[in-house]
Symmetry: C2
Subunit: 369 residues, 2 copies
């Protein structure tokens, strides 16, 4: 790879997020990233998307090994259902192929530590796809909080809700569904990067849906995370409500609200309020996926450990599981998360123009039309 | 009283809220309400405020009985510290004087039931001063939610934070201090009037302050309230953060955000989001206290039970105490609150022009300047 200046990717799993966001991202990541192969169990997807993106190397899941050993791929972007993350990461690692894996990292602690171990043993880079770690609006929020402009950050509160339609993978327990795995993870991650700390104890209350679509996973969850120095983070997420994706950090001297904060298909907006005066800043819609590719390729090319590493993914999923345990056992759950040495910061900002929504092949978004 | 068309009030307790809001409110409530007497333990307040508002009848706390029996007062507005609400309500009731009492109603269950019993036995009207029950922005929020515009309301989330300076009564435990009694009560009340229901179970996590001012009461609390039909309400309130006073209701089809929602010294703002389209409506700053007087005087004059009755006050304080118990015992606390027959609605809207902040006499606001 020494004489290479582009990392060649296979995108594994061609569901909604791969088609809506990952595949179109390669164009604006072309400086160091190349879409080299597609892996899917759907021949129509392979045929149509292969044609659209001029990718001649296409593989079924059964041919994954062949893809990994083809010599034409340096990295995989894993956009598979959550419960398949471990296997496809381990197999890539064993073949010496780097892994950029969608979040949440994996559903069980065993799976997650296995993924980290596999990456370490095989000396491959493993990154979890935290798109907001490269996003100007969120990195600037961290900056604002760190600058002391709003004083000491004491409170984080967030609402992240959407409608998920019957049959969607997010509603299937055995495929790693659930509100916390899919959207709660953003709230948890944001609280952690805004407070620059790890929670000590968590509490959650689950709302079971009344509709058949919520037979396997909860409709919503409200959560409270207690951080060091008596800081409080709380959030509510739901698969049964209209779109809201906002957070607020309140400090001793002011507050910063991002609404929306987590979206990738719209502009993001800051409202900074200090001493009664509000300043609004709009961050235009951008491609949040190309930056992940650019950053990860750079890590591979220059042998740098990605900041959103396996450990970062591990931290969030530990918190998620502690929250589910709290909802189950009806008690606060104490957790111990190793504080991160590195956290997302403005240095990681990468800006790429927005892409428009491509025509989907045998796939649809999570929400009803 | 049959041949009277104005209710004559004694304002009891001349601290910040009485001076900043209650006394100035009488001017715009003059159609049916008259400021007849002042009761305070501070002769300077009695002298200066008596002169300013042309009130010749002034009484010390020791002379409260005299005031009640003077024949020149029909009702008291109790703006005393929370722990004094019961005694001053009971004494008024025994004298046949109607009571408009600041919220929270009282700190103990015993006090609250005693207040309700005293009012009933002595056939006087008792109203708890829920100013938002007459406020257009909040009543319109109820209307919007009830109309089905945002579908079924599934999630309520609120942030209510402010800075309270050392020594303020809100930080004194024996005077009924604490975030839930002072500001959390608004979040609880809003969740109840927006969902038009009573919570079944509550969970709270307390953040103890690190500063000396938080020696007696918590700095902040995050709370989760589970409502019937698996609806979730959550909120965080704090005495150690900058001003935020907002809530959001998320329904199956849209969301409604009020920011600010609870303030009385600023305009209030609606953001109604349906199908990705946002509609903003600003409600200009108004006097929220005159409407309470107008409404209560009307209830007395026409022998009607006030909607924000003792039972309404009781409901909130029961929930507050369940939340504190949950924080203490580290378990969810089940509660049983009698569903209200009557809830605030647009019919109760009363609009009066804003007043400007008068010069304070030996009093100051809760926050540092």
């Amino acid at each position: 790879m020494a004489n290479q200046n582009k990392i060649r990717y296979a995108v594994v799993g061609l569901g909604y997020i791969a088609q809506a966001a990952v595949l179109p991202a390669f164009f604006h990541a072309r400086g160091n990233s190349h879409l080299a192969a597609l892996v899917s169990d759907d021949p129509a997807k392979l045929r149509d998307l292969g044609k659209r993106y001029r990718v001649s190397k296409t593989y079924s899941y059964e041919q994954y090994e062949e893809c990994l050993r083809s010599g034409e791929v340096d990295a995989v972007y894993i956009a598979l259902p959550n419960h398949m993350h471990r296997e496809y990461t381990e197999r890539a690692a064993r073949a010496g192929i780097h892994v950029l894996c969608e979040k949440p990292m994996a559903v069980t602690e065993e799976d997650r530590t296995a993924m980290i171990a596999a990456a370490r043993q095989n000396r491959i880079k493993l990154m979890i796809a935290y798109r907001l770690h490269f996003d100007e609006a969120n990195l600037k929020a961290i900056d604002t909080v760190q600058s002391g402009k709003i004083g000491d950050a004491r409170v984080f509160n967030s609402t992240f809700t959407m409608q998920v339609k019957q049959g969607n993978i997010r509603l299937q327990r055995d495929k790693g569904g659930g509100t916390l795995y899919d959207i709660g993870v953003y709230c948890i991650n944001a609280a952690r990067y805004l407070f620059q700390a790890e929670p000590l104890e968590v509490v959650a209350v689950r709302a079971n849906g009344r509709e058949p679509r919520f037979a396997e996973v909860e409709e919503g969850i409200s959560a409270i995370l207690k951080f060091p120095d008596e800081r409080l983070a709380s959030f509510t997420c739901s698969f049964g409500s209209a779109d809201v994706a906002a957070y607020e950090v309140v400090g001793t001297k002011g507050s910063l609200r991002l609404d929306p904060a987590y979206e990738y298909a719209t502009q993001l907006k800051h409202r900074l309020k200090i001493a009664g005066k509000e300043k609004i800043k709009v961050f235009r819609k951008r491609d949040q996926f190309a930056p992940e590719l650019v950053y990860f390729s750079d890590c591979v090319l220059h042998d740098r450990e990605p900041e959103p590493s396996g450990e970062e993914g591990l931290a969030d999923v530990r918190i998620i599981q502690a929250l589910y345990r709290s909802a189950e056992t009806r008690t606060p759950v104490t957790i111990e998360v190793q504080p991160r040495r590195k956290r997302p910061s403005r240095e990681q900002e990468i800006s790429r123009p927005a892409v428009s929504m491509p025509k989907l092949v045998n796939a649809s978004g999570p929400s009803p039309d």
